[in-house]
Amino acid sequence: MFNLLKRLFKTSWLNFKRNWGLSLATIFILVMTVSLITSLFLVREVSQFLISQFEERVDISIYFKEDSPEEEILKTKDELSKMSEVKDVEYISREMALEKFTKRYRENPLLMASLEEIGANPFLASLNIRAWKPEQYKTLVNFLETAAFRNLIEKVDYYQRKPVIERLSLIVSTANKVGVGISVILVIIAFVVAFNTIRLAIFSQREEISIMRLVGASNWFIRGPFLMQGIICGVFATLITLFISFLTSWLISPKLENFLLGFNFAIFFLSNFWILLFIQLLTSIGIGIISSLIAMRKYLKV
Protein backbone atom coordinates (compact mmCIF):
# COMPACT_ATOMS: atom_id res chain seq x y z
CA MET A 1 0.00 0.00 0.00
CA PHE A 2 2.79 2.36 0.95
CA ASN A 3 4.69 1.53 -2.26
CA LEU A 4 1.52 2.14 -4.27
CA LEU A 5 1.05 5.54 -2.70
CA LYS A 6 4.71 6.36 -3.16
CA ARG A 7 4.49 5.43 -6.83
CA LEU A 8 1.25 7.37 -7.21
CA PHE A 9 2.76 10.50 -5.70
CA LYS A 10 5.94 10.17 -7.79
CA THR A 11 3.95 9.79 -11.04
CA SER A 12 1.64 12.65 -10.16
CA TRP A 13 4.49 14.95 -9.23
CA LEU A 14 6.27 14.15 -12.51
CA ASN A 15 3.09 14.84 -14.49
CA PHE A 16 2.58 18.05 -12.55
CA LYS A 17 6.09 19.25 -13.44
CA ARG A 18 6.02 18.13 -17.06
CA ASN A 19 2.65 19.75 -17.74
CA TRP A 20 3.63 22.86 -15.84
CA GLY A 21 1.63 25.21 -18.09
CA LEU A 22 -1.56 23.35 -17.42
CA SER A 23 -0.69 23.02 -13.73
CA LEU A 24 -0.09 26.77 -13.43
CA ALA A 25 -3.42 27.57 -15.08
CA THR A 26 -5.22 25.22 -12.69
CA ILE A 27 -3.45 26.68 -9.66
CA PHE A 28 -4.29 30.21 -10.81
CA ILE A 29 -7.99 29.43 -11.09
CA LEU A 30 -7.98 27.67 -7.72
CA VAL A 31 -6.23 30.67 -6.13
CA MET A 32 -8.95 32.95 -7.54
CA THR A 33 -11.69 30.68 -6.22
CA VAL A 34 -10.18 30.17 -2.78
CA SER A 35 -9.36 33.90 -2.49
CA LEU A 36 -13.00 34.68 -3.23
CA ILE A 37 -14.20 32.29 -0.57
CA THR A 38 -11.67 33.64 1.94
CA SER A 39 -12.79 37.19 1.14
CA LEU A 40 -16.43 36.24 1.67
CA PHE A 41 -15.48 34.70 5.01
CA LEU A 42 -13.62 37.89 6.02
CA VAL A 43 -16.40 40.19 4.81
CA ARG A 44 -18.90 38.17 6.82
CA GLU A 45 -16.74 38.50 9.93
CA VAL A 46 -16.30 42.24 9.42
CA SER A 47 -20.06 42.67 8.90
CA GLN A 48 -20.82 40.76 12.08
CA PHE A 49 -18.28 42.85 13.95
CA LEU A 50 -19.66 46.16 12.66
CA ILE A 51 -23.23 45.12 13.35
CA SER A 52 -22.33 44.21 16.92
CA GLN A 53 -20.57 47.55 17.30
CA PHE A 54 -23.68 49.41 16.14
CA GLU A 55 -25.88 47.33 18.39
CA GLU A 56 -23.66 48.27 21.32
CA ARG A 57 -24.44 51.92 20.72
CA VAL A 58 -28.20 51.45 20.77
CA ASP A 59 -29.92 51.76 24.14
CA ILE A 60 -33.05 53.16 25.80
CA SER A 61 -33.34 55.32 28.91
CA ILE A 62 -36.05 55.34 31.59
CA TYR A 63 -36.40 58.68 33.36
CA PHE A 64 -37.89 58.55 36.87
CA LYS A 65 -40.06 61.16 38.48
CA GLU A 66 -38.28 63.76 40.56
CA ASP A 67 -39.63 62.43 43.82
CA SER A 68 -38.88 58.75 43.14
CA PRO A 69 -36.85 57.26 46.02
CA GLU A 70 -33.44 56.00 45.03
CA GLU A 71 -33.98 52.59 46.66
CA GLU A 72 -37.08 52.07 44.49
CA ILE A 73 -35.07 52.97 41.40
CA LEU A 74 -32.33 50.51 42.42
CA LYS A 75 -34.97 47.79 43.01
CA THR A 76 -36.24 48.47 39.48
CA LYS A 77 -32.68 48.14 38.20
CA ASP A 78 -32.29 44.74 39.86
CA GLU A 79 -35.57 43.52 38.43
CA LEU A 80 -34.61 44.61 34.94
CA SER A 81 -31.13 43.02 35.22
CA LYS A 82 -32.76 39.62 35.78
CA MET A 83 -34.57 39.78 32.43
CA SER A 84 -33.02 37.61 29.68
CA GLU A 85 -33.38 40.37 27.10
CA VAL A 86 -31.31 42.82 29.14
CA LYS A 87 -27.59 42.90 28.52
CA ASP A 88 -26.83 45.57 31.12
CA VAL A 89 -28.46 48.36 33.08
CA GLU A 90 -26.69 51.53 34.22
CA TYR A 91 -28.10 53.76 36.99
CA ILE A 92 -27.47 57.48 36.55
CA SER A 93 -28.55 59.52 39.55
CA ARG A 94 -29.66 63.17 39.27
CA GLU A 95 -26.27 64.32 40.56
CA MET A 96 -24.37 62.13 38.10
CA ALA A 97 -26.51 63.44 35.25
CA LEU A 98 -25.76 67.04 36.27
CA GLU A 99 -22.04 66.25 36.53
CA LYS A 100 -22.01 64.66 33.07
CA PHE A 101 -23.81 67.60 31.51
CA THR A 102 -21.49 70.14 33.18
CA LYS A 103 -18.40 68.24 32.10
CA ARG A 104 -19.62 67.95 28.54
CA TYR A 105 -20.76 71.49 28.00
CA ARG A 106 -18.45 73.52 30.29
CA GLU A 107 -16.99 75.25 27.23
CA ASN A 108 -20.48 76.36 26.17
CA PRO A 109 -21.23 79.60 28.08
CA LEU A 110 -24.83 79.81 26.90
CA LEU A 111 -25.74 76.38 28.27
CA MET A 112 -23.81 77.02 31.51
CA ALA A 113 -25.60 80.34 31.94
CA SER A 114 -28.99 78.67 31.35
CA LEU A 115 -28.21 76.05 33.96
CA GLU A 116 -27.25 78.72 36.46
CA GLU A 117 -30.44 80.59 35.66
CA ILE A 118 -32.56 77.49 36.49
CA GLY A 119 -30.81 77.30 39.84
CA ALA A 120 -31.85 73.75 40.81
CA ASN A 121 -30.79 70.44 39.23
CA PRO A 122 -33.14 69.98 36.27
CA PHE A 123 -32.03 66.41 35.48
CA LEU A 124 -33.96 63.29 36.41
CA ALA A 125 -32.53 60.01 37.62
CA SER A 126 -32.45 57.42 34.88
CA LEU A 127 -31.72 53.83 34.02
CA ASN A 128 -29.83 53.27 30.77
CA ILE A 129 -30.76 49.85 29.38
CA ARG A 130 -29.01 47.86 26.66
CA ALA A 131 -30.62 44.76 25.17
CA TRP A 132 -28.83 41.88 23.43
CA LYS A 133 -30.61 42.54 20.15
CA PRO A 134 -32.39 45.63 18.77
CA GLU A 135 -35.68 43.76 18.33
CA GLN A 136 -35.79 43.05 22.10
CA TYR A 137 -36.37 46.71 23.06
CA LYS A 138 -40.04 46.47 22.18
CA THR A 139 -40.43 43.60 24.67
CA LEU A 140 -38.70 45.62 27.36
CA VAL A 141 -40.86 48.68 26.74
CA ASN A 142 -44.02 46.56 26.90
CA PHE A 143 -42.81 45.18 30.20
CA LEU A 144 -42.11 48.67 31.56
CA GLU A 145 -45.59 49.86 30.63
CA THR A 146 -47.22 47.11 32.65
CA ALA A 147 -44.73 46.68 35.50
CA ALA A 148 -45.51 47.49 39.11
CA PHE A 149 -43.05 50.38 39.16
CA ARG A 150 -44.57 52.14 36.14
CA ASN A 151 -45.86 54.89 38.41
CA LEU A 152 -42.31 55.93 39.17
CA ILE A 153 -41.52 56.47 35.50
CA GLU A 154 -41.65 59.96 34.05
CA LYS A 155 -40.62 59.05 30.49
CA VAL A 156 -39.20 56.25 28.36
CA ASP A 157 -37.28 57.60 25.40
CA TYR A 158 -37.79 54.42 23.28
CA TYR A 159 -40.48 56.04 21.14
CA GLN A 160 -38.08 58.75 19.99
CA ARG A 161 -35.40 56.17 19.15
CA LYS A 162 -37.84 53.55 17.88
CA PRO A 163 -37.39 54.42 14.18
CA VAL A 164 -33.60 54.09 14.50
CA ILE A 165 -33.83 50.83 16.43
CA GLU A 166 -36.33 49.33 13.98
CA ARG A 167 -34.27 50.50 11.04
CA LEU A 168 -31.18 48.88 12.55
CA SER A 169 -33.05 45.59 13.08
CA LEU A 170 -34.19 45.64 9.48
CA ILE A 171 -30.69 46.44 8.21
CA VAL A 172 -29.17 43.61 10.25
CA SER A 173 -31.63 40.97 9.07
CA THR A 174 -31.57 42.16 5.44
CA ALA A 175 -27.78 42.34 5.44
CA ASN A 176 -27.60 38.76 6.70
CA LYS A 177 -30.03 37.44 4.08
CA VAL A 178 -28.49 39.39 1.20
CA GLY A 179 -25.01 38.45 2.35
CA VAL A 180 -25.86 34.77 2.38
CA GLY A 181 -27.57 35.01 -1.02
CA ILE A 182 -24.68 36.83 -2.67
CA SER A 183 -22.15 34.49 -1.09
CA VAL A 184 -23.97 31.43 -2.40
CA ILE A 185 -24.16 32.86 -5.93
CA LEU A 186 -20.49 33.89 -5.96
CA VAL A 187 -19.37 30.53 -4.59
CA ILE A 188 -21.38 28.71 -7.26
CA ILE A 189 -19.87 30.87 -10.00
CA ALA A 190 -16.36 30.31 -8.62
CA PHE A 191 -16.91 26.55 -8.49
CA VAL A 192 -18.26 26.46 -12.04
CA VAL A 193 -15.26 28.38 -13.36
CA ALA A 194 -12.80 26.16 -11.50
CA PHE A 195 -14.64 23.01 -12.59
CA ASN A 196 -14.55 24.03 -16.25
CA THR A 197 -10.86 24.85 -16.08
CA ILE A 198 -10.06 21.42 -14.67
CA ARG A 199 -12.42 19.81 -17.19
CA LEU A 200 -10.54 21.50 -20.03
CA ALA A 201 -7.24 20.34 -18.57
CA ILE A 202 -8.48 16.75 -18.56
CA PHE A 203 -10.02 17.14 -22.02
CA SER A 204 -6.56 18.05 -23.31
CA GLN A 205 -5.31 14.72 -21.93
CA ARG A 206 -8.11 12.54 -23.31
CA GLU A 207 -5.76 10.88 -25.80
CA GLU A 208 -3.46 9.82 -22.95
CA ILE A 209 -6.42 8.48 -21.01
CA SER A 210 -7.57 6.38 -23.97
CA ILE A 211 -4.04 4.99 -24.44
CA MET A 212 -3.93 4.03 -20.76
CA ARG A 213 -7.20 2.15 -21.16
CA LEU A 214 -5.90 0.30 -24.21
CA VAL A 215 -2.80 -0.75 -22.28
CA GLY A 216 -5.09 -2.37 -19.71
CA ALA A 217 -5.18 0.18 -16.91
CA SER A 218 -8.28 0.04 -14.72
CA ASN A 219 -10.38 3.16 -14.19
CA TRP A 220 -9.02 3.84 -10.72
CA PHE A 221 -5.45 3.26 -11.92
CA ILE A 222 -6.01 6.01 -14.49
CA ARG A 223 -7.89 8.31 -12.12
CA GLY A 224 -5.34 8.10 -9.31
CA PRO A 225 -2.61 10.35 -10.76
CA PHE A 226 -5.15 12.92 -11.98
CA LEU A 227 -6.76 13.12 -8.56
CA MET A 228 -3.37 13.37 -6.88
CA GLN A 229 -2.40 16.14 -9.30
CA GLY A 230 -5.61 17.90 -8.31
CA ILE A 231 -4.55 17.62 -4.67
CA ILE A 232 -1.06 18.93 -5.43
CA CYS A 233 -2.54 21.91 -7.29
CA GLY A 234 -4.93 22.45 -4.38
CA VAL A 235 -2.12 22.50 -1.82
CA PHE A 236 -0.09 24.98 -3.88
CA ALA A 237 -3.17 27.14 -4.42
CA THR A 238 -3.83 27.15 -0.66
CA LEU A 239 -0.26 28.16 0.20
CA ILE A 240 -0.33 30.98 -2.36
CA THR A 241 -3.75 32.18 -1.18
CA LEU A 242 -2.66 32.09 2.47
CA PHE A 243 0.38 34.15 1.64
CA ILE A 244 -1.62 36.70 -0.38
CA SER A 245 -4.33 36.88 2.33
CA PHE A 246 -1.80 37.42 5.07
CA LEU A 247 0.14 40.03 3.10
CA THR A 248 -3.04 41.91 2.18
CA SER A 249 -4.30 41.82 5.79
CA TRP A 250 -1.01 43.08 7.10
CA LEU A 251 -0.90 45.94 4.58
CA ILE A 252 -4.51 47.15 4.80
CA SER A 253 -5.07 46.65 8.54
CA PRO A 254 -3.58 49.95 9.74
CA LYS A 255 -5.41 51.88 7.02
CA LEU A 256 -8.85 50.41 7.71
CA GLU A 257 -8.81 49.89 11.46
CA ASN A 258 -10.30 53.29 12.32
CA PHE A 259 -12.87 53.11 9.57
CA LEU A 260 -13.96 49.66 10.72
CA LEU A 261 -14.38 50.72 14.35
CA GLY A 262 -11.33 48.82 15.54
CA PHE A 263 -11.52 45.63 13.45
CA ASN A 264 -7.93 44.52 12.76
CA PHE A 265 -7.51 42.21 9.76
CA ALA A 266 -4.03 41.06 10.68
CA ILE A 267 -4.99 40.06 14.22
CA PHE A 268 -8.14 38.38 12.99
CA PHE A 269 -6.15 36.49 10.36
CA LEU A 270 -3.57 35.23 12.85
CA SER A 271 -6.10 34.27 15.49
CA ASN A 272 -8.16 32.33 12.92
CA PHE A 273 -5.21 30.94 10.98
CA TRP A 274 -6.04 27.24 11.37
CA ILE A 275 -9.71 27.70 10.48
CA LEU A 276 -8.77 29.69 7.39
CA LEU A 277 -6.19 27.08 6.41
CA PHE A 278 -8.75 24.32 6.83
CA ILE A 279 -11.40 26.15 4.78
CA GLN A 280 -8.93 26.94 2.01
CA LEU A 281 -7.50 23.41 1.84
CA LEU A 282 -10.97 21.88 1.87
CA THR A 283 -12.13 24.19 -0.92
CA SER A 284 -9.11 23.90 -3.20
CA ILE A 285 -8.60 20.16 -2.80
CA GLY A 286 -12.35 19.54 -2.90
CA ILE A 287 -12.76 21.40 -6.16
CA GLY A 288 -9.68 19.67 -7.61
CA ILE A 289 -10.90 16.19 -6.75
CA ILE A 290 -14.60 16.58 -7.55
CA SER A 291 -13.93 18.34 -10.85
CA SER A 292 -11.40 15.67 -11.89
CA LEU A 293 -13.79 12.86 -11.03
CA ILE A 294 -16.69 14.37 -12.96
CA ALA A 295 -14.56 15.41 -15.93
CA MET A 296 -12.96 11.98 -16.28
CA ARG A 297 -16.20 10.00 -16.23
CA LYS A 298 -16.75 10.67 -19.91
CA TYR A 299 -13.35 9.27 -20.93
CA LEU A 300 -13.45 6.25 -18.66
CA LYS A 301 -16.52 4.53 -20.08
CA VAL A 302 -15.31 1.01 -20.64
Binding site: N3, R7, N15, R18, N19, E208, I211, M212, R213, L214, V215, G216, A217, S218, N219, F221, V302
Partner: protein, 226 residues
Protein backbone atom coordinates in the same frame (compact mmCIF):
# COMPACT_ATOMS: atom_id res chain seq x y z
CA UNK B 1 -6.74 -19.68 -29.06
CA UNK B 2 -8.92 -17.06 -30.76
CA UNK B 3 -12.08 -18.06 -32.59
CA UNK B 4 -14.37 -15.94 -34.72
CA UNK B 5 -17.78 -17.56 -35.12
CA UNK B 6 -20.05 -16.03 -37.77
CA UNK B 7 -19.10 -12.52 -36.75
CA UNK B 8 -20.84 -9.55 -38.33
CA UNK B 9 -20.22 -5.95 -37.33
CA UNK B 10 -22.45 -3.17 -38.59
CA UNK B 11 -21.80 0.45 -37.67
CA UNK B 12 -25.06 2.41 -37.59
CA UNK B 13 -26.91 3.12 -39.71
CA UNK B 14 -25.79 0.60 -42.33
CA UNK B 15 -22.01 0.37 -42.65
CA UNK B 16 -21.05 -3.32 -42.76
CA UNK B 17 -17.48 -3.58 -41.47
CA UNK B 18 -17.42 -7.37 -41.14
CA UNK B 19 -19.81 -9.82 -42.74
CA UNK B 20 -20.20 -13.34 -41.36
CA UNK B 21 -16.52 -13.93 -40.68
CA UNK B 22 -15.41 -17.25 -39.19
CA UNK B 23 -11.86 -18.49 -38.58
CA UNK B 24 -9.57 -19.67 -35.83
CA UNK B 25 -6.11 -18.61 -34.71
CA UNK B 26 -3.88 -21.18 -33.00
CA UNK B 27 -1.37 -20.51 -30.25
CA UNK B 28 2.07 -19.36 -31.33
CA UNK B 29 0.81 -18.68 -34.82
CA UNK B 30 1.92 -15.73 -36.97
CA UNK B 31 -1.06 -14.61 -39.01
CA UNK B 32 -1.47 -11.64 -41.34
CA UNK B 33 -4.86 -10.09 -42.00
CA UNK B 34 -4.66 -8.56 -45.46
CA UNK B 35 -6.95 -6.31 -47.41
CA UNK B 36 -7.23 -2.78 -48.67
CA UNK B 37 -8.19 0.15 -46.45
CA UNK B 38 -11.72 0.03 -45.12
CA UNK B 39 -12.06 -3.69 -45.48
CA UNK B 40 -12.51 -4.47 -41.78
CA UNK B 41 -9.00 -5.27 -40.55
CA UNK B 42 -8.90 -2.76 -37.71
CA UNK B 43 -12.48 -3.61 -36.76
CA UNK B 44 -11.41 -7.22 -36.39
CA UNK B 45 -8.67 -6.23 -33.94
CA UNK B 46 -11.03 -3.93 -32.02
CA UNK B 47 -13.42 -6.84 -31.61
CA UNK B 48 -10.66 -9.01 -30.15
CA UNK B 49 -9.77 -6.19 -27.72
CA UNK B 50 -13.46 -5.80 -26.78
CA UNK B 51 -13.33 -2.18 -27.84
CA UNK B 52 -16.28 -2.96 -30.10
CA UNK B 53 -19.02 -5.55 -29.77
CA UNK B 54 -20.17 -7.74 -32.69
CA UNK B 55 -23.62 -7.12 -34.13
CA UNK B 56 -23.95 -10.87 -34.67
CA UNK B 57 -21.81 -13.86 -33.88
CA UNK B 58 -19.32 -14.56 -31.11
CA UNK B 59 -15.62 -14.26 -30.49
CA UNK B 60 -13.75 -16.57 -28.15
CA UNK B 61 -10.40 -16.00 -26.51
CA UNK B 62 -9.01 -19.14 -24.87
CA UNK B 63 -12.55 -20.61 -24.92
CA UNK B 64 -14.06 -17.56 -23.21
CA UNK B 65 -16.66 -15.44 -25.00
CA UNK B 66 -14.96 -12.04 -25.01
CA UNK B 67 -18.13 -10.04 -25.04
CA UNK B 68 -19.58 -11.78 -22.02
CA UNK B 69 -16.69 -10.56 -19.86
CA UNK B 70 -17.90 -8.11 -17.19
CA UNK B 71 -16.84 -4.49 -17.75
CA UNK B 72 -14.96 -4.48 -14.46
CA UNK B 73 -12.90 -7.49 -15.66
CA UNK B 74 -12.01 -6.07 -19.07
CA UNK B 75 -8.76 -4.45 -17.90
CA UNK B 76 -7.59 -7.90 -16.67
CA UNK B 77 -8.51 -9.40 -20.04
CA UNK B 78 -6.71 -6.67 -21.99
CA UNK B 79 -3.55 -7.34 -20.05
CA UNK B 80 -3.25 -10.71 -21.83
CA UNK B 81 -3.00 -8.87 -25.12
CA UNK B 82 -0.25 -6.59 -26.32
CA UNK B 83 -1.17 -4.01 -28.95
CA UNK B 84 1.00 -2.20 -31.46
CA UNK B 85 -0.72 0.67 -33.25
CA UNK B 86 0.02 2.35 -36.54
CA UNK B 87 0.24 5.68 -34.68
CA UNK B 88 2.31 4.15 -31.82
CA UNK B 89 0.04 5.52 -29.07
CA UNK B 90 2.88 6.30 -26.72
CA UNK B 91 2.16 8.53 -23.73
CA UNK B 92 3.77 11.83 -24.79
CA UNK B 93 4.52 13.10 -21.29
CA UNK B 94 6.39 9.93 -20.25
CA UNK B 95 9.87 8.82 -21.30
CA UNK B 96 10.31 5.60 -23.27
CA UNK B 97 11.33 3.81 -20.09
CA UNK B 98 8.22 5.12 -18.30
CA UNK B 99 5.96 4.22 -21.21
CA UNK B 100 7.11 0.61 -21.09
CA UNK B 101 7.17 0.52 -17.29
CA UNK B 102 3.55 1.73 -17.30
CA UNK B 103 2.41 -1.56 -18.80
CA UNK B 104 4.06 -3.34 -15.83
CA UNK B 105 2.75 -0.88 -13.23
CA UNK B 106 -0.75 -1.60 -14.51
CA UNK B 107 -0.34 -5.27 -13.56
CA UNK B 108 1.13 -4.38 -10.17
CA UNK B 109 4.79 -5.22 -10.82
CA UNK B 110 7.29 -4.14 -8.19
CA UNK B 111 9.94 -1.49 -8.78
CA UNK B 112 12.56 -4.24 -8.78
CA UNK B 113 10.81 -6.22 -11.53
CA UNK B 114 10.36 -3.05 -13.56
CA UNK B 115 13.99 -2.03 -13.24
CA UNK B 116 15.04 -5.52 -14.42
CA UNK B 117 12.49 -6.20 -17.17
CA UNK B 118 12.35 -2.87 -18.94
CA UNK B 119 16.06 -2.70 -19.86
CA UNK B 120 15.83 -6.32 -21.12
CA UNK B 121 13.00 -5.50 -23.45
CA UNK B 122 14.65 -2.27 -24.55
CA UNK B 123 17.69 -4.33 -25.48
CA UNK B 124 15.53 -6.65 -27.59
CA UNK B 125 14.19 -3.69 -29.56
CA UNK B 126 17.59 -1.96 -29.56
CA UNK B 127 16.45 1.18 -27.73
CA UNK B 128 18.37 0.92 -24.48
CA UNK B 129 20.28 4.13 -25.16
CA UNK B 130 17.00 5.99 -25.74
CA UNK B 131 15.36 4.93 -22.50
CA UNK B 132 15.15 8.42 -21.04
CA UNK B 133 14.04 10.21 -24.17
CA UNK B 134 10.47 11.32 -24.79
CA UNK B 135 8.55 9.98 -27.81
CA UNK B 136 8.79 13.35 -29.52
CA UNK B 137 12.56 13.01 -29.46
CA UNK B 138 12.59 9.72 -31.38
CA UNK B 139 12.27 8.87 -35.06
CA UNK B 140 9.14 7.10 -36.28
CA UNK B 141 10.93 3.76 -36.50
CA UNK B 142 12.21 4.14 -32.93
CA UNK B 143 8.74 5.07 -31.70
CA UNK B 144 7.30 1.95 -33.27
CA UNK B 145 10.00 -0.18 -31.66
CA UNK B 146 9.16 1.43 -28.31
CA UNK B 147 5.52 0.60 -28.94
CA UNK B 148 6.46 -3.03 -29.58
CA UNK B 149 8.54 -3.09 -26.41
CA UNK B 150 5.52 -1.88 -24.43
CA UNK B 151 3.32 -4.49 -26.06
CA UNK B 152 5.85 -7.17 -25.14
CA UNK B 153 6.86 -6.23 -21.62
CA UNK B 154 4.13 -8.04 -19.70
CA UNK B 155 4.60 -11.23 -21.72
CA UNK B 156 1.17 -11.24 -23.32
CA UNK B 157 -0.31 -14.34 -24.92
CA UNK B 158 -0.92 -12.49 -28.16
CA UNK B 159 0.26 -9.29 -29.83
CA UNK B 160 -2.08 -7.41 -32.15
CA UNK B 161 -0.14 -5.25 -34.59
CA UNK B 162 -2.42 -2.87 -36.49
CA UNK B 163 -0.59 -1.63 -39.58
CA UNK B 164 2.62 -1.22 -37.57
CA UNK B 165 4.62 -0.28 -40.65
CA UNK B 166 2.04 2.11 -42.07
CA UNK B 167 4.00 5.25 -41.19
CA UNK B 168 7.47 3.84 -41.78
CA UNK B 169 9.94 3.83 -44.63
CA UNK B 170 10.86 0.40 -46.13
CA UNK B 171 14.05 0.06 -44.03
CA UNK B 172 12.26 0.62 -40.74
CA UNK B 173 9.29 -1.40 -41.89
CA UNK B 174 11.40 -4.50 -42.51
CA UNK B 175 13.10 -4.06 -39.14
CA UNK B 176 9.76 -4.00 -37.40
CA UNK B 177 8.62 -7.14 -39.19
CA UNK B 178 11.87 -8.90 -38.29
CA UNK B 179 11.29 -7.94 -34.67
CA UNK B 180 7.76 -9.33 -34.74
CA UNK B 181 9.03 -12.57 -36.25
CA UNK B 182 11.63 -12.82 -33.50
CA UNK B 183 8.94 -12.31 -30.86
CA UNK B 184 6.83 -14.98 -32.51
CA UNK B 185 9.71 -17.43 -32.41
CA UNK B 186 9.85 -16.86 -28.66
CA UNK B 187 6.28 -18.16 -28.39
CA UNK B 188 3.92 -15.19 -28.68
CA UNK B 189 1.01 -15.33 -31.12
CA UNK B 190 1.18 -12.43 -33.57
CA UNK B 191 -1.81 -11.05 -35.48
CA UNK B 192 -0.63 -8.50 -38.02
CA UNK B 193 -2.94 -6.38 -40.14
CA UNK B 194 -1.45 -4.83 -43.21
CA UNK B 195 -2.12 -3.85 -46.81
CA UNK B 196 1.59 -3.97 -47.68
CA UNK B 197 2.12 -6.48 -50.49
CA UNK B 198 5.89 -6.86 -50.01
CA UNK B 199 5.59 -7.59 -46.32
CA UNK B 200 2.94 -10.25 -46.77
CA UNK B 201 4.76 -11.93 -49.62
CA UNK B 202 8.07 -11.94 -47.76
CA UNK B 203 6.62 -13.49 -44.61
CA UNK B 204 5.44 -16.80 -46.09
CA UNK B 205 3.08 -17.17 -43.15
CA UNK B 206 -0.66 -17.69 -42.91
CA UNK B 207 -2.68 -14.96 -44.61
CA UNK B 208 -6.38 -14.27 -44.09
CA UNK B 209 -7.69 -11.92 -46.78
CA UNK B 210 -10.68 -9.65 -46.31
CA UNK B 211 -12.63 -7.81 -48.95
CA UNK B 212 -15.63 -5.61 -48.15
CA UNK B 213 -15.81 -7.19 -44.70
CA UNK B 214 -15.93 -10.77 -46.03
CA UNK B 215 -13.27 -13.40 -45.55
CA UNK B 216 -12.32 -14.34 -49.09
CA UNK B 217 -9.14 -16.37 -48.56
CA UNK B 218 -7.32 -18.19 -45.78
CA UNK B 219 -3.98 -19.72 -46.85
CA UNK B 220 -1.21 -21.25 -44.77
CA UNK B 221 1.57 -19.72 -46.87
CA UNK B 222 -0.41 -16.92 -48.31
CA UNK B 223 0.46 -14.24 -50.79
CA UNK B 224 -1.01 -10.81 -51.39
CA UNK B 225 -3.42 -11.13 -54.29
CA UNK B 226 -5.27 -8.12 -55.68
Amino acid sequence: MIKFQNVTKIYPPDTVALNDVSFEIKEKEFISIAGRSGTGKTTLLKLILAEETPTRGRIFFQDQDIHKIKKSKLPDFRRKIGVVFQDYKLLPSKTIFENIAYALEVIGASDKEISQSVPEVLTIVDLLDKAHKFPSQLSQGQRQRASIARALIHRPDVILADEPTGNLDPYNASEIIRLLLKINELGTTIILTTHNKEIINSLEKRVVSLDDGKLIRDEEKGRFIL
